[in-house]
């Protein structure tokens, strides 16, 4: 019995494999750090309170100066609107899929395939769809009335963008929410049933609250998707650097603003980049830094939720 025999070849292969994996991971992280670092370096100088609180100056002649307040508010507004559309639909669908749908039926397969297809539709196609639908005269109330010699509705507004964006992120939130609901242990449902609770009461009082952190994570990640999308915003919101009403914060102007055009951080970046109309690439980088910062904050929040969930000992 030789306990000290070694297999050099196996040892070398093992070490090479480990190093290769490690190197790939370092490469990926390195690329991410480089991108964020470069953006920070280019855009950090633009960030100031003035930048955040002044509106963009619309004049191209001035080389597009000013700040980023309108796009910043636009992004926030778009996130709120799209979540108002998406969250109730997503949670209700997720509950249905996880609790009521019978996996064996053919209707189930149709629904699942439909969701997969919806998830795969490119955002620019969604934007085209939104434009096509909301330029119908019947839907003129959602956006400003048609331009002078067009009978179509304008088809672009915060409301339109909010609705289209909400539908775009719907499959993603449904998937995360359904997963969260399915992860709630069966034993809770058995316990509830044994107490005489109906299925709906058990869902309302026990299952949904237990799935809450998971669903919240899905919503926050959905917000990230909304914040980062450009195609839908560009097509269904336009790229105007001002709100439809000057005093956009006044509640009486709410409907005008919502039915009007505007911009978000993403369209602001596009607008000010060499590909867009402006030449102020510094402003574009500044807005990019803001956007990355927003996404990082959202991801940190999901991390906090995950740690809270683990600490509360959700697992039975």
């Amino acid at each position: 019995m030789n306990l000290t025999a070694t297999n050099r070849r196996a040892q070398i292969t093992s070490i090479l494999g480990t190093v290769a994996c490690w190197a790939m991971a370092v490469l990926v992280v390195g690329v991410c750090v480089f991108i964020i670092g470069y953006l920070m370096q280019q855009g950090a100088s633009s960030i100031s309170w003035k930048f955040l609180s002044t509106d963009p100056s619309g004049s191209i002649a001035e080389g597009g100066g000013g700040g980023v307040r309108v796009p910043l508010v636009g992004s926030a507004l778009l996130i709120i609107l799209s979540m108002l559309v998406a969250v109730p639909l997503a949670v209700a669908s997720a509950v249905y899929l996880a609790e009521y749908m019978d996996e064996g039926r053919s209707l189930t397969r149709i629904v699942r395939v439909g969701l997969e297809v919806l998830a795969g539709v490119p955002s620019v196609v969604f934007g085209m769809f939104g434009l096509a639908v909301f330029t119908l005269p019947a839907l003129a109330f959602v956006s400003a009335a048609g331009a002078d010699n067009h009978s179509d509705a304008y088809g672009r507004s915060f409301l339109v963008a909010g609705i289209v964006m909400g539908i775009h992120v719907l499959p993603f939130i449904i998937k995360v929410a359904e997963e969260a609901i399915r992860n709630v242990p069966r034993s809770y449902r058995s316990g509830a049933a044994a107490l005489g609770m109906t299925k709906w009461r058990a869902i309302r009082k026990i299952v949904l609250p237990a799935a809450g952190p998971g669903i919240a994570t899905g919503i926050i990640l959905g917000m990230g998707l909304v914040a980062g999308d450009t195609a839908i915003v560009w097509l269904t919101l336009g790229g105007t650097m001002t709100m439809a009403a000057d005093a956009w914060w006044a509640p009486s102007n709410a409907l005008t603003v919502l039915r009007g055009s505007g911009s978000t951080l993403t369209t602001f970046i596009y607008y000010n980049s060499p590909a867009g109309e402006g030449n102020s690439i510094g402003l574009a980088f500044g807005a990019a830094v803001l956007l990355i910062g927003l996404l990082l904050v959202l991801n940190i929040i999901t991390g906090v939720i995950a740690r809270y969930q683990a600490r509360a000992g959700r697992a039975a």
Binding site: P185, Y188, G191, L195, R201, K205, I206, G313, A316
Partner: protein
């Protein structure tokens, strides 16, 4: 029929060191004078093509502890779950025969599942407290039954349930703590308290001590003995010693059939059937 010589060998069951923990070795009560609260008549169960139970006819006497015993897969849990219609949740479940609770057919037309399950409570093998505080676990059960309840009344029902489950002294100062902060045995007693909070007539337990240590098991056994004064207890157990320790009546299941029922002492000391004797002596399990 069993050989009488074999019968003499099985006259008493040795439960080893746990004898010290249990003071109730000879506490079995007669069951002849206790009227049946649940009875089944020729109960048969199929899951799709597979037959799980056949021709099960038995009676559960009121205010006694009845134990269902038998090897794994014999159908004792299936039978238990018929009594509160938990098997209804399984789509391939089909049932024949009748089961009556207090004289009423529980599978009859117009029977409300919620009402049935509030009269026949259930505790499961793995403790399954809800992901909320100790207080809320019980409060939820009460509110679901009674709707809006004044805080004082809710407090009193929660306390009473925890006292009945023998858990009050241990948790009275930490009612707002998460139910998961309790040990396994405490969680199981919480589940018992929760089941009792809706004041059922019958409490069914499906191998409640299977995942617990001997000391927690002994506490729960003592608890069940106390509760049987006010409730009817049906317990499924694969632990023969436990059945012998606490039950007044046993029902021995084997491969989907009910082989024998009777007073515990009689079945353990002088079973009518060879299979029963073999099982009790540990010749198979």
């Amino acid at each position: 029929m069993a050989d009488s010589a074999v019968m003499n060998e099985t006259s008493s069951f040795d439960s080893g060191f746990l004898t010290q923990l249990s003071r109730h070795m000879d506490v079995q009560r007669e069951t002849a004078n206790a009227r049946p609260i649940i009875s089944s008549d020729n109960l048969g169960v199929h899951y799709g093509r597979k037959q799980a139970l056949e021709g099960v006819s038995l009676e559960i006497p009121i205010h006694r502890i009845t134990a269902f015993i038998g090897p794994s897969g014999c159908g004792k849990s299936t039978a238990l779950r018929c009594f509160n219609r938990m098997n209804d949740e399984i789509s391939s479940f089909k049932m024949t025969g009748t089961i009556t609770l207090d004289g009423q057919d529980i599978y009859g037309r117009g029977v409300n599942l919620t009402a049935l399950r509030r009269n026949v409570g259930m505790v499961f093998q793995q403790p399954n407290p809800f992901p909320m505080s100790i207080y809320d676990n019980i409060a939820l059960a009460v509110r679901e039954q009674k709707g809006r309840v004044p805080r004082a009344e809710l407090d009193s029902v929660v306390e009473h349930s925890l006292v009945q489950a023998g858990l009050w002294e241990e948790v009275k100062n930490s009612l707002k703590d998460s139910a998961f902060s309790l040990s396994g045995g405490q969680q199981q007693r919480l589940c018992i308290a929760r089941a009792l909070a809706v004041t059922p007539a019958v409490l069914m337990l499906d191998e409640p001590c299977a995942s617990l240590d001997p000391i927690s098991t002994a506490k729960i056994e003592e608890l069940l003995l106390e509760l049987s004064a006010d409730y009817t207890i049906v317990i499924v157990t694969h632990n023969l010693a436990q059945a012998h320790r606490i039950s007044d009546q046993v029902a021995f299941f084997l491969m989907g059939k009910l082989v024998e029922t009777g007073e515990t002492r009689t079945v353990f000391e002088a079973p009518r059937f060879g299979e029963t004797a073999n099982y009790i002596q540990g010749r198979f399990g």
